[in-house]
Structure formats: C-alpha cells, structure tokens
Symmetry: C2
DNA sequence: CGCAGGTATCTCGACATCAAGATATCTCGG
DNA sequence: CCGAGATATCTTGATGTCGAGATACCTGCG
C-alpha cells in the first residue's frame, strides 16, 4: 500500500532528480507516524480525562515504583521537555490533585514530585487504554515484524539516548 | 545497544507484570525518535535561517513544481496542521517575502500560495542541508536495513494516510 | 431561480512550549 | 572555611498551535 511519503519522494525525484532523497523514506515516515500517533493518543487519553502531557508525567512517576516520586530533573530527562515546561506541568498536575511537591530532604535546592493515590489510579487506567489502542495499530504487522521494527528503531535512537545531547 | 525505551519497558514489566507492554517497543521508539529528529532538524535549518515549520511549507510548495503554488487547503493535508495554523504560517512567510498570496481565478473563496524566487532558493538550500544531516543519522543502518525499515513503517502509516482521518 | 448544505479560508482566545536568565543551594579545591 | 563554578528549580516573555466559530462563496436539488 502506498503512503504519503511515497508521493512525497516521487515528487522530489521529479523536481530535484539531482538529489538523493533516500533518507526521507525512513525519517519522514517516522515524523509523520509520530504525528498521527500523537492524535491517536490524545483520543485514547480523553476517555480517561487526561492530556498526553499529563500521561507522560504521571506514568514516569508510576514507573519509578513505590513511593512513586522523582525529582523534576529526572522527569525532564524522561520526557524530553525543558525545565520551564516541567515546572508548569507540575503546577497544573498539583492543581488537579494528581501529584504533590515535597521538599527533598537531602538537597534544599531540590524538590520531589510524588504521585497521589488518585494520580496513580489514573495513570494505571490510561496505560491500559493506551496499550489496547496501540495493539490495534500494530495489527498491521506480524509479531516477528514488530520485533524487527523495534530493533531497527533502537539502532537509530540509541545514539541520542546514550550520548548526552 | 540499549536505549531509553528498553529501560522504560523493563520498568513497566517490574511495576505492572500483569500487562503486555510489547506495543511500546515499537511505538514509544517512534515517538521518541521523532522528538529527537525535531531537535536535529531545528539545528540543521538554523544554518539556513529557517524554522522547521517554514521548511515544511516552503518545500510542500517546491515539490508541487512550476509555478510552485498550492491552496492553503492542500498545504493543510500535507503538513497535518489545522487551518488556523496554516493561515498564520502563510501570513508570516508572506511577511518574510518567501511566499505570496494570489486569488484563485476559479474559486473566489480560494487563495493560491505561491513561492517567491527567494523562497524557492531557501527551500532548495535547506533541503540539501537536511539530507546531509539525515544521512549521518542513518549511517547506523546498512542500506538494506534502511529499505526494510522504510517498508515496515509504510505499513503502519498507510492506514492513516489512506483512510481519511 | 432560490435556498440548503457544503467548502475554503480566516479570526480569535486559550494554552503549552521554549529559551534565557534569576535564585538558591551544593561541592570542592586551596 | 571561603569562594568559584556547578547544579536544581523556577520565572518571564515571546511564540506557535489548536479548536471553534465567522464569513464568503460554491453547488445542486426542487
């Protein structure tokens, strides 16, 4: 089946036959797919009254395990946003009663963000919902293809995740 | 090489052993890679004095071929943004002299957005720069792996691109 | 021909994000 | 123990995006 990127690449080959646009076959698809995923996620989370950014923060805390707390700095590296954004997110989640800020006992500059019971429940429910939706999207691929795809993507992401940048 | 998603999946398996989080192996990597790509693209375009969103619009017009013009509606579907956003983008690109708005001779509701000569040159230069950067990122993979990856991604994107949504 | 519904674009207000800088605190060499 | 530089978080101002609604125009049925 043809997709938008096939049309995009064909157009470039026609307009700029002098260029090798092969990289777009992979990377434009990654960008476009991510865009579509964002929309699908937004829909999935709406069923649980959460925004995507709320999910990102709550699940980062949930994954940390008891007592479900992390510093804003740790949340930054997991969510790939800037510190100003994270401050704002924590403020709003605090306002909704899903997390609370505690002083870090070992560092007076620091803060610990902890999930409330309500926040934990919401995160658990939304995760289950998300996985159900994502499984549908992936039904296009066999289990073997999914594994293969994951491995190829890992090779591309690893440099970003391991060399600080 | 391990990446952030490996750690994420391991954390979920520890915290929620009852859930099958396999879908994250693919889709979380797509989202995270897209995020990293956005940053890399921003850097690449800065060398040519362009923002990513400017590049998206200018190259859509460039790909259309002579006379390098499309309606705002056509630009919407290619760039996956809303109409309010596109109006705003066209305004700003017009202000920078990279595109201009012309009335559609066949539909008085309509408008045609056309690339200026300067806009065309900027698009061409930025594209060449982008491809160079992207080729480096893809050096992680053999040519065969790139083809394979592109094919797998196509299967996932195609439903979005072909079933209107 | 006239009107109902559809379509193309723009307007407007709310909001999330970012970048850069401010503030408070920590760390460690001297 | 002091001060320089690093670190953690928050503040601020600008900006881009979205969503819903407004406006103008087109199309086709009756």
């Amino acid at each position: 089946m043809e997709d938008e990127v096939d049309r995009l690449v064909a157009a470039w080959r026609r307009e700029r036959p002098d260029l090798d646009v092969e990289p777009l076959e992979v990377l434009s698809r990654v960008s476009r797919l991510a865009r579509h995923l964002d929309r699908a996620r937004r829909t999935a989370f709406a069923e649980h009254g959460l925004e995507p950014w709320e999910f990102d923060v709550l699940t980062a805390l949930r994954r940390a395990g008891t007592p479900y707390q992390l510093s804003p700095g740790q949340l930054l590296t997991q969510t790939l946003v800037t510190s100003g954004t994270m401050t704002n997110r924590i403020d709003r989640l605090t306002g909704k009663g899903l997390v609370k800020r505690l002083p870090d006992p070992d560092d007076r500059r620091g803060v610990l963000v902890r999930l409330t019971d309500d926040g934990r429940d919401r995160a658990d429910q939304a995760l289950a919902g998300l996985l159900a939706h994502e499984r549908e999207l992936l039904a296009q691929l066999t289990s073997g293809q999914q594994t293969e795809l994951a491995a190829l993507l890992r090779q591309l992401v690893a440099p970003f995740d391991n060399i600080p940048g």
